[in-house]
């Protein structure tokens, strides 16, 4: 809470640029990215493929390293933050180990971080409940549906109780109906835990429905074209998507995406 009180951003990017050196010459994945994310924010990054949204998320997680500017996570460099286990990361695919049960998979980060055994058991039980997978702990991943596997991978990211949750198109591979249910569940989980969430998506309704802050990005070079502070209340039933406010925000996101694209096709 002290971070919110002092107004210090959890994620703070100033003029961040990232250039990949490839055989075909340098690729500017990110350029001049400025962004502040406060504690408890739900930030979505939206844009066409190649706009650097995933690269930016990976840079926050210290999986990529910016070549320009300054990026801070909890006031530290991303690598320091990673070493202090400041965030949980959810990938596009669930990536559960086939040789571990669901509970075993969720236990993995806890084992690596050296939590004592009874504490591991308690946490596994708690997060299984949080993602509504009670009773599935002893199952193997292949016995679960895609949506349930992704929920298990969210539970795995939550297990060690990092303040930040970074999610890279976690529901991209799932069908619309499952996606809606998981979006609702994610909002509930966010309300319960008060975590700061960074969420990459290319679905406009998903971004508008979930976020307190929507970051619209465009490609070549990857940059931010618009940052929208959502006026929607934190409590959001699914039918909020039919409200005039929701449609107005979605319209602005679409305009932002179109503006970023205009010179390219």
């Amino acid at each position: 809470m002290s971070d919110a009180a002092t107004g210090r951003p959890v994620i703070d990017a100033r003029k961040v640029g990232l250039t990949f050196q490839t055989a075909d010459g340098p690729v500017h994945a990110l350029k001049d990215v400025n962004l502040s994310v406060m504690k408890g924010d739900f930030v979505s990054f939206i844009g066409p493929s190649g706009c650097g949204k995933t690269t930016f998320l990976r840079a926050i997680a210290a999986l990529e390293h910016p070549t320009e500017g300054d990026l801070r996570v909890n006031g530290m460099t991303p690598d320091e933050a990673r070493k202090r286990r400041a965030y949980g990361y959810v990938f596009q695919a669930a990536g559960l180990y086939p040789w571990r049960t669901i509970a075993g998979n969720i236990r993995l980060p806890l084992e690596i971080m050296g939590f004592p055994k009874p504490e591991q058991d308690r946490r596994v039980k708690d997060v299984l409940q949080l993602v509504e997978l009670e009773g599935f702990g002893k199952k193997y991943p292949w016995q679960l549906s895609g949506g349930m596997q992704q929920r298990a991978s969210i539970a795995r990211a939550l297990a060690f109780d990092a303040d930040i949750l970074l999610m890279d198109e976690p529901f991209g591979a799932l069908d619309e109906i499952v996606r809606d249910r998981l979006n609702e569940a994610l909002l509930k989980l966010w309300a319960q835990t008060g975590k700061t969430i960074g969420f990459v998506t290319h679905s406009i309704p998903e971004a508008v429905y979930l976020s307190t802050k929507i970051v619209v990005m465009s490609p070549r070079p990857g940059r931010i074209t618009d940052v929208i502070e959502s006026p929607l209340p934190r409590e959001r039933p699914l039918d909020i998507r039919d409200s005039a406010e929701f449609i107005a925000i979605a319209h602005r996101v679409r305009e932002g995406l179109r503006a970023g694209h205009s010179y390219d096709d």
């Binding site: 990673r82 070493k83 949980g88 990361y89 990536g95 086939p98 993995l108 980060p109 690596i112």
Partner: protein, 287 residues
């Protein structure tokens, strides 16, 4: 029943072809004998004589079966004429060699994936080692080992290990590298150490690859042990039976020893397969 019929059909065809080949290949000797005696042989007389020779060019299936039966059940297992005795001599060298080869192969693979210098230096040597004909290098290993006072089982086991470490290295390197970028990134977000990454991700992920290699490796071990017996003066073991058989033209003995080797190999591969099934099932990787 539906699956056994095609299998039996194939076996029957092979046996029939084998009999036909035996008649054709052994006929020359029968005709020569007849010519020497100044007689003619009709086809009806020829066929039984081709299938009942003491030293046929190609023994008929029933002769090999009888040779196998005599070797396995007709002798005390400690007898020098017992195939059980010779199979055990070869099997013991095979198992020791397989153990050494598997251990060495896993160690090399672990080194190769963790150390860039080893990756670039060990693999070419491992590949080069397999391009040398084993028949050429086996006598040298025996001679070198003998000169430092090591003989008996160990030199054979080393030749056996020489053949079996290679598939294990190749399989384990592939297996330990099988986790994809995302899996490795995930562990990086946990700030996992290299040893944690190895024990929790790379090693379990490599298990299916390990077992595939072990099946190749154990069969190669057996070949290595048999080849290792050839230059030792053919004292004991399946290799010795093969060599003695060829010295004295005992083709039935050769074939009986060959079949024994094949049966032992099949049993060993079967055992590895059974262990694989149990291990993967307990790991939850078999469905």
């Amino acid at each position: 029943m539906r699956s056994i019929l095609p299998v039996l059909t194939v076996v029957a065809v092979i046996v029939a072809l084998w009999y036909a080949a035996a008649v054709a290949m052994n006929a020359t000797w029968v005709r020569d004998q007849a010519a020497r005696a100044g007689t003619e042989v009709s086809f009806q007389e020829l066929v039984p004589r081709t299938l009942a020779q003491d030293r046929p060019v190609l023994p008929a299936p029933h002769q090999v079966a009888k040779g196998l039966w005599d070797g396995w059940a007709g002798q005390a297992v400690t007898s020098r004429r017992s195939l059980v005795y010779h199979a055990w001599i070869t099997l013991s060298a095979t198992l020791v060699g397989f153990g050494i080869g598997t251990g060495l192969g896993i160690l090399l693979a672990v080194g190769i994936i963790h150390n860039r210098a080893m990756d670039q230096s060990v693999m070419p040597w491992a590949i080069a080692s397999q391009t040398i004909p084993i028949l050429a290098i086996a006598p040298m290993i025996i001679v070198v080992m003998n000169s430092i006072g090591v003989s008996g089982l160990l030199p054979k086991a080393i030749i056996s290990a020489y053949l079996s470490f290679f598939p294990v290295v190749v399989g384990m390197v592939t297996g330990l590298r099988s986790p994809d970028r995302m899996q490795l990134d995930l562990l990086s977000t946990y700030n996992a150490s290299r040893s944690q990454t190895f024990w929790k991700l790379r090693l379990p992920a490599s298990m299916p690859y390990l077992f595939a290699s072990l099946k190749v490796g154990i069969a190669a071990s057996l070949v290595g042990a048999i080849v290792g017996e050839l230059p030792t003066g053919a004292v004991a073991g399946l290799g010795a039976r093969l060599l003695q058989g060829s010295y004295y033209g005992q083709t039935i003995q050769i074939w009986a020893a060959l079949f024994t080797a094949a049966i032992v190999a099949a049993a060993l591969v079967g055992i590895v397969g059974a262990v694989q099934a149990v291990v993967l099932k307990r790991m939850g990787m078999a469905r």
